[in-house]
């Protein structure tokens, strides 16, 4: 597993181009310093460990929030893409699982975690399943793993959830409920990052943007 933190996702996807993309390059970016400043009003998010970064450009897409009409998307190419991403995540998760020793993750687990998170972001973008159901499941998974100090239960949760997801053809709200059950089963915090203050690897705080 040595040197894994430098790796980027390399899984390819025949349906709509290679999965490796700019997003995959974010491996190792998770300790970077983000900004959420907006013109007019003035907040930044900073990593307490470092100083402020310059503002990030924010081009507004202004997308509508209305769910797609017609419910499920039936494009087989999208299904292939969905399956391939699930396979890639499962492969990473199984590799990590195999390296668990004496109930502990290996020292270099962060590399695998970053890669899994990048793949989950790509899975989020696949317009497969009913309305926003897949996005809802992936969001629920991301809220458990992003910026978390992983332990074996995170790995088992991912394995369980992605396996269940992969075996489905239809992704609907029952998949979201399954995710909630899985969170409880592996004793993770179902309210992490919403009602409950999360335990994190990197703590971010909001500070005033003075415009300097």
């Amino acid at each position: 597993m040595a040197g894994k933190s430098k790796r980027v996702a390399t899984t390819s996807d025949t349906a709509s181009g290679p999965i490796t993309g700019e997003d995959s390059q974010r491996v190792g970016h998770f300790r970077g310093l983000p900004t959420v400043s907006t013109p007019g009003l003035t907040t930044k998010v900073t990593d307490t460990a470092t100083s402020l970064l310059p503002s990030q450009s924010e081009e507004s897409g202004g997308r509508a929030r209305k769910p797609a009409k017609g419910g499920a998307v039936e494009d087989p190419a999208l299904y292939k893409r969905f399956r391939r991403l699930c396979d890639s995540i499962l492969s990473e998760v199984r590799e990590l699982e195999a390296s668990i020793s004496e109930g502990r993750l290996p020292d270099d687990w962060l590399g695998s975690a970053a890669e899994i998170e990048a793949l989950l972001e790509q899975l989020y973008d696949v317009p497969w399943g009913q309305r926003d159901a897949l996005k809802g499941v992936v969001t629920a998974i991301l809220f458990q793993v992003v910026n978390a100090d992983w332990h074996p239960n995170h790995v088992m949760f991912l394995k369980d959830m992605i396996s269940r997801l992969r075996s489905r053809y239809s992704i609907d709200q029952t998949a979201v409920k399954e995710c909630a059950e899985s969170v409880r089963l592996y004793e993770l915090d179902q309210f992490r990052g919403t009602a409950t203050k999360p335990m994190v690897r990197t703590h971010y705080k909001i500070v005033e943007d003075t415009g300097e």
Binding site: E22, D23, Q25, R26, H29, F30, G32, P34, V36, S37, T38, G40, L41, T42, T43, V45, Q56, S57, E58, E59, S60, G61, G62, R63, A64, R65, K66, P67, E117, E121, D132, K135, G136, T139, A140, L142, F143, V146, N147, V176, C179, A180, D189, Q190, F191, R192, G193, T194, A195, T196, K197, P198, M199, V200, T202, H203, Y204, K205, I206
Partner: protein, 289 residues
């Protein structure tokens, strides 16, 4: 649920009022303090009015944020800014939730031009997942052994948050008897009101004062019901008299009342025949370390 193995009078039975139930979900640190305290109790109770207050605070804040994140073209940072600037009385709770979200969202979609819109989308999707779970948690065995509901039986408390096509239904619609309200609150107040008036009158601020204390607000609600046989309270009124209504629901069931709020709860607990347990947390503010 198995019956207790010792006679009920010997069991320690905790009443968890709203501040405790909210704090159990807010930070792991506070949760740990409370869970350690609860290890000494055989039974844990909450009540329907506590659930009403839980809905009116943390669930209401989540539903509000869901609504604003879900608006077309919504951007995460814009919502954060707007909530930071607002003067709403739930601002602190809303910011607490957004700050928690920032810990997660800051690691996501770093290289996307539409990042702020995507983060808003992620935020509302997760709130959509969590809101019904928060409601379910309150009554679950992980939270309490029983939500005491046989005296007041608050109708609003029993309604689970339901998402329609896009938004959640109104969390707490105004209560109107025979239309959307079947509770017993006026009956209970008429039954217990006279003795509570005696307790509250010496503690309440003078009537008509611009900043009435909690005892005055409670007293006003009770007197309005005692004076008017057709009184039809809504959930805002019940929340004004919340501490005493929670106490009435738990009277005779709980032996000890746990709260972070000593000013009101010492009085409520004494009146309802419970021992008061003041829950305190070590100071979490960084400047006091």
């Amino acid at each position: 649920m198995n019956p207790p193995s010792v006679p009920p009078t010997l069991c320690r039975r905790a009443l968890l009022e709203t501040t405790i139930q909210v704090d159990r979900k807010k930070t792991g640190h506070r949760q740990a303090v409370i869970e350690r305290l609860l290890e000494g109790f055989e039974w844990k109770f909450s009540t329907s009015i506590t659930l009403l207050e839980f809905k009116a605070t943390i669930i209401e804040a989540c539903i509000f944020l869901h609504g604003v994140f879900r608006r077309s073209g919504s951007r995460f940072s814009d919502v954060l800014d707007a909530v930071t600037e607002s003067q709403h009385r739930q601002q602190a709770l809303r910011l607490h939730i957004i700050h928690n979200m920032v810990q997660i969202t800051e690691g996501l979609f770093r290289n996307r031009n539409d990042r702020q819109e995507r983060l808003a989308e992620i935020a509302y999707l997760q709130l959509e997942n969590v809101i019904p779970q928060l409601y379910d948690w309150f009554s679950s065995p992980a939270s309490v052994d029983q939500v005491l509901n046989d005296r007041i039986a608050c109708t609003r408390a029993m309604e689970k948050p339901v998402k329609k096509v896009a938004k959640f239904e109104t969390n707490l619609p105004r209560c109107i008897r025979d239309r959307n309200k079947r509770c017993q609150v006026e009956k209970v107040i008429r039954q217990h009101g006279p003795r509570l008036v005696k307790v509250l009158e010496p503690l309440a601020t003078p009537s008509g004062e611009p900043n009435p204390n909690q005892f005055r607000r409670t007293l006003d609600v009770i007197q309005s019901v005692l004076a008017n046989p057709k009184a039809d309270l809504s959930h805002e009124d019940c929340r004004n008299a919340g501490d005493f209504l929670i106490g009435i629901e738990a009277e005779g069931h709980a032996t000890e009342a746990l709260s972070t709020n000593a000013r009101e709860w010492e009085v409520v607990a004494k009146e309802m025949g419970m021992q008061f347990v003041h829950v305190k947390y070590p100071d979490e503010r960084p400047w006091s370390r």
